[in-house]
């Protein structure tokens, strides 16, 4: 493989090592653990459990054990749920992915369309409206807008369910199951789209504005091309190309769940799992989750980097 990639990979691994150490120490530093928080246990039983889980060993030794296991694909054992962390991740992560992938799709779709139109009509009333809307979307406190929409759409108007993935006690199957899930995910998807669409629309708008000013757009017009063709054949392609670098940055969001949204909508995703485990101080799970996001972030950055180089005009084609 190329030296550049090799260098990047080595650096990636080093950063991840450092991150894992930092994450481990931080959690180890946090006082209290799953066992001491459990009032049902006698002091003897607590000491015994600590022994079993190796919690009484020094931090560095515990870290070494944790890392060694992690390399073997074992992120430890969730204390509160009594299941391997990876099993739990596998169980919850796809729910998160579902939410993320649908909202990411809508976010990009809306952002491209609105961004292009606003750019084309720069300085029009529509553009001003879009700009205000963009800033509004970027300024929303996520948890508040979630709660607010639940209150209005679910509690007051009863259009949509307030949370969860299925109605309590439901055992729908097949198409009915799908319908129910779609019904439940509508509200969180709306909120997530709302939260993401602002900055992305702005990105596409400004990209497009830059492109429209280019000399080759003037050339296309001077050739007598139809305005539609100028916009979609000549301008849009150039405006979209740099955006492929963003794809990598979406990675952690796609698989890492959303702590706030899933918590508020009671969505059984990996983010909510984290939030629950946090109050229980279920360290293996918390560390596993944090590490997962760190890994996704690093890989995402790498992908973006590679895509950027691929998209670079001199090597692109």
């Amino acid at each position: 493989m190329s030296t550049y990639l090799a260098k990047r990979l080595v650096y990636m691994v080093i950063i991840l090592f450092a991150a894992s150490l930092l994450i481990f120490c931080l959690y180890a530093l946090t006082p209290g653990d799953f066992i001491s928080g459990n009032i049902k246990l006698t002091p003897e039983r607590k000491a015994e459990l600590r022994e079993i889980y190796g919690l009484n060993k020094p931090v560095l030794e515990r870290y070494a054990v944790w890392m060694k296991n992690a390399f073997h694909g074992d992120l430890g054992f969730s204390l509160s749920q009594q299941k391997p962390v990876l099993t739990l991740f596998n169980q919850y992560i796809w729910n998160s992915f579902l939410l993320a992938v649908v909202s990411t799709f809508f976010t990009w779709l809306i952002a491209v369309i609105i961004g292009v139109i606003a750019a084309y009509k720069q300085y029009s009333w529509f553009d001003t409206l879009v700009m205000v809307a963009i800033f509004a979307a970027m300024s929303l406190p996520s948890f508040f807008i979630g709660l607010f929409l639940i209150k209005i759409l679910a509690v007051d108007w009863k259009w949509l369910p307030p949370g969860g993935m299925l109605t309590t006690g439901s055992n729908a199957t097949g198409l009915a199951y799908v319908k129910e899930v779609v019904h439940h995910m509508t509200l969180p998807v709306i909120v997530m789209t709302l939260l993401g669409v602002g900055s992305l629309t702005r990105y596409f708008r400004s990209n497009m504005i830059d492109v429209i000013k280019q000399d080759y757009i003037r050339t296309a017009r001077a050739k007598g091309m139809k305005e539609r063709k100028v916009l979609f054949t000549h301008a849009l392609r150039n405006a979209l190309l740099p955006a492929i670098t963003l794809v990598g940055f979406e990675l952690p969001a796609l698989f890492g769940g959303s702590l706030i949204i899933e918590q508020i909508f009671n969505w059984p995703g990996i983010g909510q799992l984290y939030m629950q485990s946090f109050s229980l101080r279920d360290y293996p799970l918390l560390m596993g989750f944090t590490m997962l996001i760190a890994v996704l972030t690093v890989i995402g950055t790498l992908i973006s980097d590679i895509l950027y180089r691929v998209a670079d005009p001199r090597v692109r084609l």
Binding site: D215, Y216, T219, A222, G224, M225, H234, N238, L241, L317
Partner: protein, 327 residues
């Protein structure tokens, strides 16, 4: 022979934060069939904006043609709808620009960009258009035409790209070619090639050329008729030999004298003092008055009109108004 292009009293203004800039302010000019007309002037004199106005490519909403007539082939272009104008652009009137490197779309192949106007205006099939494009690439003096058609702009040099731009421009057999500083961004040896190419196509097809440049050397090589612009107005125009031999306007005289010429070394170059006036602060006057060695009282308060001094030349200068000089 009639006029192919007749511009009457064209006014193109730009709204800026500080006020309205009259980039083109009452310009009239004519281009005859088969004639090469050069507009010469320094940056900001409005020569490019004049060309853009003809093409209907003045960028709104800041810039706008606010008055005048642009008559092309007997048809007034200004009232035309966007669609009607589009069928003329790239077809009857073609244009090439200063920066060949940025004037072609980096993500489309040369071939794709060349076939577009052929398909659009001449209704060619994709296949016929490609064959014609390859033929055109050969005509502008580039070998390996097939291969070039499939390459992207960044793979070619500036000189080659300008050749491609010319190929695109002549592809639909335009009656008028507008060339806006076509060689300014190129090296002298390449400039010579491009100018030769333009001359060659003009001779072959009898098209007219409206050439915009700041380089008097290029003007002398290319022009039949010259229009000198200063601060948005035409100050002098005339047949090329006459204009270079007997420049009338003090600005034209200064411009010709201040250009260093090979093998005509002077100890000190003539230089026009001062600088171009701020377009926002113009009041009625001859706009050149504060740089002019012959400035009179009337120059500061009244605008001279463009008038014939001989059959083939016009000048806008109070020095040539009999009534003022002798009255």
């Amino acid at each position: 022979m009639g006029d192919l292009l007749a511009i009457e009293n064209l006014k193109t203004y730009f709204d800026t934060e500080e006020g309205t800039v009259k980039a083109v302010d009452g310009v009239s000019l004519r281009v005859k069939q088969g004639q090469t007309v050069c507009i010469v002037g320094e940056s900001g004199c409005g020569k490019s904006i004049t060309a853009m106005s003809v093409m209907g490519l003045v960028e709104g909403p800041a810039g706008k043609v606010v008055g005048g007539r642009i008559e092309f082939d007997g048809q007034d272009l200004l009232p035309l709808s966007r669609h009607e104008l589009r069928t003329i652009r790239g077809n009857d009137i073609a244009m090439i620009f200063q920066e060949p490197m940025s004037s072609l779309n980096p993500v489309l192949t040369i071939g794709e960009q060349m076939t577009e106007p052929l398909i659009e205006h001449l209704k060619m099939s994709r296949k016929a258009a490609r064959a014609r494009a390859i033929e055109l690439i050969g005509q502008v003096g580039i070998s390996r035409a097939e291969q070039i058609a499939d390459s992207y702009p960044h793979e070619l040099s500036g000189g080659m790209l300008q050749r491609i731009m010319i190929a695109i421009a002549i592809s639909c057999g335009p009656k008028l070619l507008i060339a806006d500083e076509p060689t300014t961004a190129l090296d002298v040896t390449i400039q010579a090639q491009i100018l030769d190419l333009l001359r060659q196509f003009k001779a072959e097809s009898n098209m007219s050329i409206l050439l915009i440049t700041h380089d008097l050397g290029v003007v002398a090589e290319m022009a039949d008729y010259v229009i000198v612009m200063y601060a948005g107005k035409v100050v002098e125009e005339g047949e090329v030999v006459e204009l270079f031999a007997n420049p009338k306007h003090p600005y034209t005289q200064g411009l010709l004298k201040s250009k260093p010429v090979i093998n005509q070394r002077q100890n000190e170059l003539y230089s026009i003092p001062g600088q171009v006036p701020n377009p926002l602060e113009l009041t009625e006057s001859c706009y050149f008055h504060d740089r002019c060695a012959h400035c009179m009282d009337i120059c500061r308060t009244r605008e001279p009109r463009l008038k014939n001094v001989t059959d083939e030349s016009k000048v806008a200068c109070w020095l040539y108004e009999e009534a003022v000089v002798h009255g």
